[in-house]
């Protein structure tokens, strides 16, 4: 009798155990399985457009031998050409010697037109729709319009004490907190059809400040983001693990994450790319302004500078005393954004 029961229980035990085991395997597989890349672009459905195993297993670009770098670039060019249907070049031009890039922006000239934002997007192959990633954000800040009113003079801040303060006031209430380069009253997403510049506001574009002491570089667990020899903070898009510690650390909100597969229509793709610069990124990696290094390493200016209609933006080599930026630093009233963060940015703001 007991044997019969045990056999039945054994059968049930076995099937239950198998069931649980399969659930466990399915769960583990779901967690560990390599992601299948989802083709979201409208390019030709080409097997060459898929990420190869070799590309998935490549190491950190800076640590590669020259031969490995060549192969990596070849793989990328092949993949991008197949995916976007355009002959794509991925440049590997190194950082020029003796150059430290710096940027200066004249906030009294900026009219808030945002042509820099859109030129950057055209140049740098960001995801174009759903979402459109923009590396530059323009803050619209109310001008200092301090209103002092006589009827608030005796109100006091803090308010008078009920226990009696014998008419001794410890603060005032005649202010309206507004204006000044504080992020407190800033608006960042004003309407596209708004007339600029609005006379009661001034405009401050913010992009990656290319800090000399970058908190993002310190936070990255795999050194995917690092400072190149020209002082530009770059990202190896094939090495980034998407943990977003750098985004947590950045005091300027300059870093953008590819939450999904980027939607870059082939018609809008810029085929002249650089490995660390504007080559198209993939799902799950970080990106940000690189001072257009695909242009600046070849002696040209960043796209945002060329797009600015009022000449508010200046760029150059901080080690060359004759460069625009050095002259501005020497003669204008220059400041750094959020200087208290001790990040020592190479992006300078000035009035003049």
């Amino acid at each position: 009798m007991s044997e019969v029961i045990n056999t039945r229980t054994d059968d049930v035990k076995e099937s239950r155990r198998d069931f649980l085991k399969n659930i466990g395997i399915a769960g583990a597989a779901a967690l560990v399985a390599s992601p299948v890349s989802v083709e979201a672009s409208v390019g030709p459905a080409n097997p060459d457009a898929e990420i190869t195993v070799a590309e998935s297993l490549q190491g950190h670009f800076v640590l590669m031998s020259d031969k490995e770098k060549e192969k990596a670039i070849e793989r990328l060019e092949k993949r991008y050409t197949a995916k976007y249907g355009k002959k794509t070049t991925v440049s590997d031009v190194p950082a020029p010697e003796g150059v430290l890039f710096g940027y200066a922006l004249n906030i009294s000239k900026c009219i808030g037109c945002r042509r820099c934002v859109h030129a950057c997007v055209q140049e740098n192959n960001q995801s174009r729709n759903n979402p459109e990633i923009q590396w530059i954000q323009v803050m619209k800040i109310p001008k200092g319009n301090f209103s002092f009113s006589a009827d608030k003079l005796n109100k006091g801040y803090p308010e008078s004490s009920k226990l009696g303060d014998y008419g001794v006031q410890v603060g005032g209430n005649a202010y309206t907190p507004v204006g000044g380069l504080s992020t407190e009253e800033t608006q960042n997403y004003y309407a596209a059809d708004e007339m600029v510049p609005d006379k009661d506001y001034f405009y401050v574009p913010v992009q990656c400040q290319q800090c000399e002491k970058p908190p993002c570089v310190k936070a990255c667990p795999v050194k995917a983001t690092f400072r190149d020899p020209n002082g530009v903070v770059v990202i190896d898009y094939n090495w980034c693990i998407g943990c977003r510690m750098c985004q947590l650390a950045c005091p300027y909100g300059a870093r953008r994450f590819n939450w999904g597969e980027p939607n870059l229509p082939p018609a809008e793709m810029n085929p002249k790319t650089h490995y660390f610069g504007n080559r198209p990124r993939m799902r799950g990696v970080m990106e940000k302004c690189t001072f257009c290094l695909q242009r600046t390493r070849e002696g040209r200016n960043p796209a945002c500078l060329e797009a600015c209609p009022v000449g508010a933006r200046k760029f150059g080599n901080l080690l060359d005393p004759e460069s625009d930026v050095r002259k501005i630093l020497a003669t204008k009233k220059v400041f750094r954004f959020k200087e208290e963060m001790s990040t020592y940015p190479k992006f300078f703001y000035f009035v003049g």
């Binding site: 155990r17 399985a33 998935s56 190491g59 803050m139 992020t183 977003r244 939450w259 970080m286 963060m341």
Partner: protein, 403 residues
Amino acid sequence: MDFGSYAIKGGPKYYAWLGFLLFFILVGSYTAYRQLTEGLILVGATDQIPMELFFANFIFTAHVAAAAILVVAPGYFYHRKDMKELAVIGEIIAMCFVATGITFVLFHMGRPDRLWHMLPGVGYPNFPNSMLVYDTIVLNVYLYLNLAGISYILYKKYVGEFDTKAMARWFTPVIYLAIIWGPLIHICTAFVLSSNARMGEWATAVLPFGFLAMAGASGPSLVILLFLLIRKNTKLEISDSVINLMTTIIGWSLGIILLVLAAEYFTALYSNTEHAASLNYSMFGHNGLNLYAPWFWGTVGSIVGCFVAILIPKVRKSYDRWLPVVCVVVFMTILVEKPMMLVFPAFSPSPLGEYTEYHPTLIEYFNVLFTWAIGLISLTLLVKGAVGILTGEVRYHKPITST
């Protein structure tokens, strides 16, 4: 009877619990697959609030994993005989929760297929600068320490060779290391948050103390609930003094949490500078965005209420009614506090002054529940099997060889 079959066997309520968890594992397998292939765009995170429910829940599981050593330490450090035998259950809780935490981190990563980049040798870990590298190391070491501890103790008891003197020579130091390692994982997790100077709410010296106090409140709550269940449904003896010790720890921890919160709020709000902008958003909302205000006041009120309740002897002695209720409330309060008070409101104002609210997606909720279900089912099965070994019902029987 062996470990596996004992673990799966149980009454109808036990099967209902396992079935409930299996449901979320099944549904979650699909949502996990969706997220792995389509990416984090399926969850509610944005560039303004890049940390999702996975990250908030990871911090909570680190609380419980760190505090599980409070079941191990009294038996080993303080030679409390009533708790020595239960140490293995504490280690199981620690192991399951740290594994759940690691799973949450896997869901948080943008490219989980590239995690090998963190391995020394084949990858390029940013040691000694990146706090995430430290956290990864300490979490994994804790997982394997506890795994080693559990495997050894349970195996030795299973084959009837459990000899405390032989153990003391080399194994007890492993347990001691695990006890010290518990708070260490939590301090590392606190440092991952407090190392970011731009996060006003997080870059505070008080964060590790707040975390450890929250651990001391939420961990023992779970332990009490588990022990009360074990007392009621199995033959394992757990004396009242064990439950009372856990209750005492919860009481002290809640008190310390209140002190930590009071210190933070005083320091921020007395001078009320822009440093307090995030706290003001949490407490009062900003320009009509006040999703987090009721959660703030509810959480703080709940912690105060539970603290007062646990000071009342009638509550502490009411093993059948009030104590489990308080434990559930403490556990859920601290669980909910992580996303709604610690994580999401801390991102507003953003570095450029933006205020945002976080809206999780359905896929995100199911992936969170999937991970919890995996963790809880492992915890259930392992604790059940361990209880079988501790009560002697699960023993190795040498196969009878025919002559």
